[in-house]
Assembly symmetry: C2
Homo-oligomer: 241 residues x 2
DNA sequence: GGCCTTAATTGATCTGGGTCATCGCGCCGG
DNA sequence: CCGGCGCGATGACCCAGATCAATTAAGGCC
């Protein structure tokens, strides 16, 4: 969507619309709805807030609700019986939770940072989709995009070395920095434990590899939760092999 | 879909329908189309055949076609610059190739066994979808299902041991045995190299772990490409931890 | 059937990343 | 300002699975 269309749509909302202040309106699934449909959509469910660490949905819960993330950060994770954890992905603002449309959630979704979500009853949501084919198409596009991302992550987990995983991850974080990271400072909004469980490594290995990148002047740490890329081409090169 | 509905739909086709002999008609995306739409759909593209080892689409090719697999087996794989390979998944009869709807294919699709596919021009296919919302919904469901499967595989690659990976894989193969594996004999239709690249292991490790399962009387080999499960509960237990 | 090719198995050894242990730092509360 | 706590960093050692190296077995083809 180009800037002109975007501004036009935003202007269309009028000044009492519930989605007026939403930073991810065109980015999220809602982006395809016109002002009236959007109002009806939004008013079909509440806005909910979660603090860092809170569980939004638990794996094996009935999937009675779906969500659109408007701010914050979620992680999708799964625990093995003995406590090993794998994070299947992170949800950023604009992402949709419940795209798999299964009866049960397969993964636990937890807030990594304080997060705001638009909550919808799945039953009502499904009905709404029926009446808005454009929304169905958009959800399909979202699912397709997430599938591509998940498969890319399969390559990382199945075949990449620790160094390559960290380099790939830092570049991914850079890609998610839109407005926030002016002056090239990139935020790492999750803990080392989350990074490790996302990359199929242990905390110690994540720490060591980051230190190595720092020592080789490929990145520069600007705090425990932020860094700067010093040599992007080398980082890119390290990300593959 | 229950048996009655299924037979009814099949009967509906009439006896000069191009899809009459198709073994996966209800299983594939086509399953939601009525006889007329299905005919029109099928006649919009040819049936193509590939031998084992043939490439159907190459990663980074323009995605000008999409396919529905009617028989055989495909693998979706990606190569790293130095030759390391990861298989992101296998496509079984009824599966759809091109679901991600990206402009470029992200993965190479190759025939593991002789395969038949219905081929469609993406352009025409997209138009067809526009006119048949049920098809869009079905594709969405397929994408959602593959996303769930890919995420499950992330857990395997990120956190499971070699033994757990092999056990999980053998159980997955069992799940794909519908009619073929009467008398409990389960086919392993791909090479050890393919298994290894799917599970993020080396060939030797795959071989050793299979031998171990055999030695512990959990499975029984009935040929290099087939086996029988002797102790399913133990295999299931080994698949997690 | 016998030869040749290719895949699979098995054994011996090596190593990247895991494990265990310690340390340091920043932050918060008193 | 100090003490404690939780996260992250670092060091020493270990092990699951990789690597290297034969060996064996299954087709395919005269």
């Amino acid at each position: 969507m180009d800037m002109a269309t975007r501004l036009e749509n935003l202007a269309d909302l009028g000044n009492d619309h519930p989605c007026l202040g939403c930073a991810v309106r065109e980015l999220a699934v809602c982006g395809v709805l016109d002002a009236d449909a959007l109002r009806q959509f939004k008013e079909s469910g509440p806005t909910v807030h979660y603090n860092a660490g809170d569980t939004v949905v638990f794996e094996s819960d009935q999937a009675t609700n779906v969500y659109s993330l408007t701010s914050g950060l979620l992680r999708l994770s799964k625990l093995l019986p003995d406590g090993r954890r794998q994070i299947a992905g992170f949800l950023f603002p604009g992402d949709f939770l419940g795209i798999t449309m299964e009866e049960e959630h397969a993964f636990t979704a937890e807030a990594v940072a304080p997060s705001e979500l638009c909550k919808f009853q799945r039953r009502q949501f499904d009905e709404f989709i029926e009446r808005h084919p454009a929304l169905e198409r958009r959800l399909h596009a979202f699912a397709a995009h997430e599938l591509a991302a998940a498969r890319q992550q399969l390559v990382l987990l199945g075949r990449k070395t620790a160094t390559e995983r960290i380099a790939s991850f830092l570049l991914m974080l850079e890609g998610h920095c839109h407005s926030v990271c002016a002056n090239q400072e990139i935020a790492v909004p999750m803990s080392r434990a989350d990074v490790a469980d996302y990359l199929g490594l242990r905390i110690e290995t994540v720490s060591r590899e980051i230190s190595r990148l720092k020592a080789h002047r490929v990145i520069q740490l600007t705090g425990r939760q932020s860094f700067r890329i010093v040599d992007r081409s080398r980082l890119k090169q390290m990300a593959e092999g």
